[in-house]
Symmetry: C2
Subunit: 333 residues, 2 copies
Amino acid sequence: MIQTPYLLFLGDAPDQLAAKVAQGIKDWRPENAVGQFRLPGCKATVGLTDMTLAEAQAAGAKTLVIGVANRGGVISQAWKEVLLEALAMGYDLASGLHNLLSEEEDLVAAAAEHGRDLHDVRIPSVDYPIASGVKRTGKRVLAVGTDCSVGKMYTALALDAAMQARGMKSTFRATGQTGILIIGHGVPLDAVVADFMAGSIEYLTPDNDPDHWDVIEGQGSLHHISYSGVTLALVHGGQPDALIICHEPTRSHMRGLPDYKVPSMQAIRDVALSLARVGNPDCVVVGAAVNTQHMGKEEALAYLERVEKEMGLPAVDPFRFGAERLAEALEAI
Amino acid sequence: MIQTPYLLFLGDAPDQLAAKVAQGIKDWRPENAVGQFRLPGCKATVGLTDMTLAEAQAAGAKTLVIGVANRGGVISQAWKEVLLEALAMGYDLASGLHNLLSEEEDLVAAAAEHGRDLHDVRIPSVDYPIASGVKRTGKRVLAVGTDCSVGKMYTALALDAAMQARGMKSTFRATGQTGILIIGHGVPLDAVVADFMAGSIEYLTPDNDPDHWDVIEGQGSLHHISYSGVTLALVHGGQPDALIICHEPTRSHMRGLPDYKVPSMQAIRDVALSLARVGNPDCVVVGAAVNTQHMGKEEALAYLERVEKEMGLPAVDPFRFGAERLAEALEAI
């Protein structure tokens, strides 16, 4: 559990895209960030007030979150000075970088000296159990995709927001590094040891109120050669009552796999539902979430209409046009 | 790569079952073991000559393999004395125990002093890549099961032996601790980090001669809630040309999951084949391997005949009655 609120460290981000973790926090949990911290030459902003470490601390910030990708996998000297000063002032640090804070000797020493925590959300901090498959109370919905990076996290966050707006009980459950930094906790599933993957998702989505929904962030795709095992652990460990099929229609091939075509939403629906019913025979597919960011508005709306007709399910772009109809479909279960 | 031949350490095994790793080595790679080493009170034997460390070394043994499960997850003092003496004499040690040799300070110190290797096959010793999905040369057959522990390893080993007997080119590829100790190398898939599971299987089964078969040991089941993700990584990372469906007909529920019924062989055939064809569109199911150890001979033969008729495929108990018909089916591809 990472302490909130945060000060978002944008460092010397070379462009806006490099700051996508900070942007995710600003988009989905603005109440978790008091401001942003930028170094000279920073080319990104998430539109929050620029603050010094002291100003942010006065505004209540507890953790300095690295909201930016670093260049070449090295934590630079310019970053180091800020991070060390933050630790000395009483900040915890949190990062989703591949190179870990806990592998930087000077940061480890400073954290120990000042009694602060270094949160590397790239790797698990818990010994997860082996999945038991025992039926849990409460309800769960899982986003499954035709490919990686088609908008499963944004779908889950938008759905969670729409459910809360309707007065439904829901909790977004993060399974990737960005999602974990956005809400401050979760399971970094891609870094969990194989035997414990499904168990980590059971741990993440425990017994709950009968009318409470865990909205589980998906990962990978059942048809993505590299990561399909991770996806199946979500389908079985998550014990979903409902699935949402996520898709990005303009892709020419699977992400990172030039020889592989993206499967149809129907193909993913069929295999995901059949496997999900092993763990929960009552599981249903409730809707489609299409990432239309590379389409014009008319084209997007026409595409959604066609998907809706072909699949006989509500089809929305939850980030662009809202996730209310998916929330409605879940409420009807 | 563990150096062969071995001396098999049976320790103070309380019963025959505790020595199943040693038994597997004796059954499948007798040429890899010069003898067995037993402590006073040992209740197991694998039928090899009892030898002292010195006798086995004179017979060529290079590695002392712990072929027995330990009690309570602790390496006892009685074991320690033998292991330390073996290191001092120039033996490497190999173990599939959950508690690692490399976590025992005295063993680590002795190995360093004498320049010997400690092989803990429970955990990976390689940084595996992320799977690329690129088509590889050579052929691959994968054993997939309706459940865990239904005989996938024995099926693969028996098939490999039958293929070699027919003069086919084949290599057994171990994906579990026992299999790794039997042949001296492999991937401990259940201990690989999620993102690298499929990549570890690509690494295990690289490009090969067009007429060479990798016979890949299966793990788990696509319908086993706890481990299905591991199984799917084999189906996708293994890029199989052929699948063999493995089953144990007398089980009342899935192993470790009292609330879950064992699926039919047909259900596993359908889901495994459809997912395997994502990675290799030419994949086919060539046969069924039934573990009939809990059935009388007549009952077993009648059961196999029925499976053969229902599935339209050769159905054998490869360990009890031979794997020749499966090898034949692969040769016909």
